[in-house]
Structures are given as structure tokens and as C-alpha cells.
């Protein structure tokens, strides 16, 4: 066996352990501390096992109605953003690509702004804000893709698509700014949405996004080999019998669906989709068969921990989670670049 082949299971196990640790920490730490053993016993009890429930009724409600859904949502969103980011990077052969690149962020921002500005209390029973963000994100990506496809008819490729994404982002952001300026009383709410939040993390949100994320995750985890082939360039991929355009379309579709659902419930949380895959690549090698699943696990762990910091540092106030991911993530990233600089 050689080093490279052994790296994958080790990296997967390490990232899995990290996620587990983060989940335990995330559920136990907070304004009311719950011991990990108490949590486990309590969960076992409610699953019908013959152990006593060490938690009080209030503690149990806190655990199952607030902590667990919030931590789960953080893990889902973080994992999804990291996985989508890694996929975008593979499709564009560019380590600087992130899941917001093709207009998902701008589209979601516009959708959210419109709802906040014109229908702050929602319409009926439907969760309008997540829906609007979701639809907005997919619309943004769809516009970029359509524009890129038209422009690329004569030659061009992924670079054209990137430029289309930039154009669509600028356009949608401009509209969003206009709506925002015309409704300045909603500025604060829009702003806090843009910075990302998991405060509304209830089971409803988890249930809302889980199906989309599941589909997206399954598709993307199967795309590793295809993205590895794409890494030698479109021409050589074609002469290896692969159709890069199809691979790109399927992967972007799945990644955008996942991104849209993450954005719908958490706003715009930056940095995760860019940095987590980058760190993973440095530690686990650059084959997408490793990068994709390890990013999924590590991204989940990262966001759970970031959320933990966000809700405890200024407790009872909460920091926007996007601030934490950047504030904690950037120095860590810089340190890693410095330590790992130039090594393989």
C-alpha cells in the first residue's frame, strides 16, 4: 500500500471524529450546560432504553427543541457549503471558486430583501423568507448558466461561465440595493440576514432543507472520479471518453441546489465553502474522491464550532455567524498557508 491510498481513510476517520466531537460540544455547551453523558443517557431513555433520564423536563426540552436542531442545522449547512464549494472548485479548476460564485448569493439576497421589504410578516403559513432565498439562489445560478451557455456558443468554456456569474451577481446586487434603499426601514433586518444566522434553527428548518441537501450530497459524492478526470482539462477529458459539459452541468446543478437550501435557512455564511475544501486538500491530497467527502464532514464540524463561538462569546447576545467564520477562519487559514507553504 502506498501513502496516497492510505490518506483517504485516515482523513475520513479524522474528519468524522472531529464532526462527532463538534456535535457533542455543540449540544452540551451553552447558557445552560448539559453534560455529554447526561445528553446520551437522556437520548437513550427517550429512545426507549431502560435508563433513567438525568435531565429535568426543562433541560430535556432545551436539548431536543433548541440545541439539537440548531447544531444539526449548523452541521448540515456547513457540510453542504463546504461540499458545494469543493465541487465548484473542481468544475472550474480554480481553488478560489466558492459556492456563491454563480449568483446564488446575490439571487438569495435579492429574494430575501424583497420579502423582508414588502412582506415582513410572511404570507400565510408558508415560510416565505427561506423560500424566497431558495428560489432567488436558484434563479441567480440559472441566469448565469443561461448567459454563459449563450456566450459560449462559439468556443469558451468554464471561464465564460465564471464571467457570466460575475455579471449576474452585479446585476442582481444592483436590484437588491435599489429595493433596499427604497425600504430603508428594513435595512437592519436585511443586513442581519446577509451576515448569516442560525438562530432560527428549529426542526422546521431542518426538515425544510434536508431533502434537497440529501439529493445534492448524494450526487456530489458520486462526482469525485468525474471531477478528477476534469482536472486534466476539457480536451484531455474528452479524449478520455468523458463529456465535460455534462459533468459540469450535473455537478453545478447539484451544488447549486445544496447551496440554495443552505442559504435559505442560514443567510449568507461566507468563508466555509472556500476555506474548508482548501484546508482539506492540503491535509488529504487533492483527489476529489477524498476532498468531497472529507469537506462535507469537516465543513459540518467547522460550522458547528463557529456557531458555538457565535452564541457563547457575547452571551446572551449572539454574534452573526458569518462574522465568526471569517474572524476565526481567516487567521487559521493564514497560519496554515504559512506552515504548509510549498509542501506537498
Amino acid at each position: 500500500m502506498n501513502v496516497v491510498q492510505q490518506r483517504r481513510p485516515v482523513a475520513l476517520a479524522a474528519a468524522g471524529a472531529l464532526l462527532l466531537l463538534a456535535l457533542v460540544a455543540g449540544t452540551s455547551v451553552g447558557a445552560v450546560a448539559l453534560s455529554p453523558s447526561g445528553i446520551l443517557a437522556s437520548l437513550a431513555h427517550s429512545a426507549g432504553l431502560d435508563v433513567g433520564n438525568p435531565l429535568s423536563q426543562t433541560q430535556f426540552a432545551l436539548l431536543t427543541q433548541i440545541r439539537i436542531p440548531r447544531v444539526l442545522l449548523a452541521a448540515l449547512v456547513g457540510g453542504m457549503l463546504a461540499l458545494a464549494g469543493a465541487s465548484y472548485q473542481g468544475v472550474f479548476r480554480n481553488p478560489l471558486a466558492d459556492p456563491y460564485l454563480l449568483g446564488a448569493a446575490a439571487g438569495a439576497g435579492l429574494g430575501a430583501t424583497i420579502v423582508i421589504a414588502y412582506s415582513p410578516n410572511g404570507i400565510g403559513p408558508i415560510a416565505t423568507l427561506p423560500m424566497a432565498a431558495f428560489v432567488g439562489a436558484l434563479t441567480g445560478v440559472g441566469l448565469s448558466y443561461a448567459l454563459g451557455a449563450v456566450a459560449a456558443r462559439h468556443g469558451g468554456g468554464s471561464a465564460t461561465l465564471l464571467l457570466a456569474g460575475i455579471a449576474v451577481t452585479a446585476f442582481l446586487t444592483a436590484i437588491q440595493t435599489v429595493v433596499q434603499q427604497a425600504n430603508s426601514d428594513s435595512l437592519r433586518q436585511v443586513y442581519s440576514w446577509i451576515l448569516g444566522q442560525l438562530g432560527a434553527g428549529h426542526w422546521d428548518e431542518v426538515r425544510l432543507v434536508l431533502p434537497y441537501m440529501a439529493v445534492s450530497t448524494v450526487v456530489l459524492l458520486f462526482a469525485g472520479r468525474a471531477l478528477d478526470v476534469l482536472s486534466v482539462g476539457d480536451d484531455e477529458a474528452i479524449t478520455l471518453g468523458v463529456r465535460p459539459r455534462q459533468v459540469r452541468f450535473v455537478v453545478l446543478l447539484a451544488a447549486s441546489l445544496g447551496t440554495a437550501s443552505a442559504v435559505a435557512v442560514s443567510g449568507l455564511i461566507g468563508f466555509v465553502g472556500l476555506v474548508v475544501p482548501h484546508v482539506v486538500r492540503r491535509l488529504a491530497g487533492s483527489s476529489y474522491r477524498s476532498v468531497l467527502p472529507v469537506s462535507l464532514l469537516a465543513g459540518g464540524a467547522f460550522l458547528v464550532l463557529a456557531d458555538l463561538v457565535a452564541r457563547t462569546v457575547l452571551s446572551p447576545a449572539e454574534l452573526p455567524i458569518g462574522v465568526v467564520t471569517a474572524f476565526v477562519g481567516a487567521p487559521f487559514f493564514a497560519a496554515l498557508l504559512r506552515i504548509g507553504g510549498g509542501s506537498s
Binding site: V4, V232, S344
Partner: protein, 271 residues
Amino acid sequence: MTASSGGSEEPELLDVREVSVALGRAQVLDAVSLSVTEGGWTAVVGPNGAGKSTLLRAIASLVTCRGRVLIGGVDASSMSAKERARQIAYAPQVPLIPEAMSVREYVMLGRTPYRALLAAPRGADHEAVARALTRLDLESLADRMLRTLSGGERQRAVLARSLAQEPRLLLLDEPTAALDLGHAQQLLELVDDLRRDEHLTVLSTLHDLVLAGQYADRIVLLTGGRVVADGAPADVLTAQALAEHYGVSAEVEAGPSGVRVHPVRPGRAGA
């Protein structure tokens, strides 16, 4: 499979018929016809902008063209991408090197046309990769990242990937472009060995006429998208043809190792 066997009349391995390519308004290839017999080494030469690379790309179905490309008697446009990939391997002039990929992983990509895109490599794939690594003397580098390799080692890795692909035809676009003379020679020797031992047919572009004259057993001279000469090196690489199509002043000498082209300063030839 589309192998041509049993026919009384053996078709050429590659038959290019009246292939024309237009990129935008520019007519890059104009009714190019050529055929390549199994087992040989054909070099496409010509001045810059003659359409050499485009010809290789057309044969690899990377650009849309008019005309027909037959591989083993079968129209390439009627094959699936995967079928084509089992017949033709292509190494571009500047291969995109995924830097943090190991040599072994990279060579394994050559096995892509032999299994479903999502499937894991099987025993035969690992064997082919091991064989290609051994053949190109890359075993000791197999677990190194591509970015840590020298230019010559990278070219060998690209060749190993093409070899693992087990094609019948190997298309090499300026394989020596990034190499110094010593490494260029070593690489071409290696290609020649592979051609003999692995029953490969090589079609390469070579801008270096000195090397083309030494290694190819057939030369196709392309100028302005048209074939102007096609035949044995001694017949194509004449002082007159070089002067006419390259505007170069050279002496040409036939020797036991092939044709030797010596560029000499204008006005001082024939001394």
C-alpha cells in the same frame, strides 16, 4: 470493439479524408487528406500557423470539421466518446497538470474509458497502470505529487497515462516543446521504443525538423492548412521544399539514422 480483423484488405489505421476546419472566419485546415499505416511514426511538420495542432485536434474529435476521419475503417463521428478513447490517446502541447495529484492517480486517469465513470478501478486497471509506470521508469515516482516532478518527468507521466489508455493511435502535439535537446531526444527515443514494443502508431506534430527527420518514418508537410508534401523524410525534407515553405536556408543530408537537416546562414550554403 471496432478492431479491423479478418478483412482481406487491411484498412489503414487512420484515414483522414478531405478534412476542413474553420475557426471563425479563418480556414485553418483546407481539405486535408492523409492516411497512416499501423505501426509507423508520422510527423506533421510545417511553419507556425500551418494548422498542425488543429489537424491533431480534428483527428481527436476536439474540433468540429467537415470531411471524415476513419479509425480502423470506422467513422470516428459514429463512435461514442468512450469507443474513440480506446482507440486514440491525445497529449496536448501544454498538458494541464493537476499539481497535487500523485503520478499513480494521474496515470490511472488513462483507464477512464474502460469502466463506468463512477466505478472503482478493477484489477486490470491496476495492472495496466503498474505496467505503464514500469515501462516509463516512473515506479519510484509513483506516489510523488505531479508538481514536484521536473519537466521531463512530467512528460513521461503524460506518456504513461496515454500508455495506460491502451490506444492504437497516439497523438502527440509537440511532445518536446518544453524540453531541452537532451530530454527531447530521450523522450523521442522512449516514444520510438513504445511504438515498437506496444504496437502503437504515432502521429505527432514536431516543429523541430532536425528531430522530425531523425525519428519519423513519414513526414507530412502542412502549409496554410494544406498538405503540400507527404512521403518519406528524404523526399519531403528537401533543401528546396524547406526554402519554399519555411523560408529557411538549410542543407539536407541522408544518413543511416534518417534525414539530417542542417540550417545554415543564408548565402553561405554549399561550402
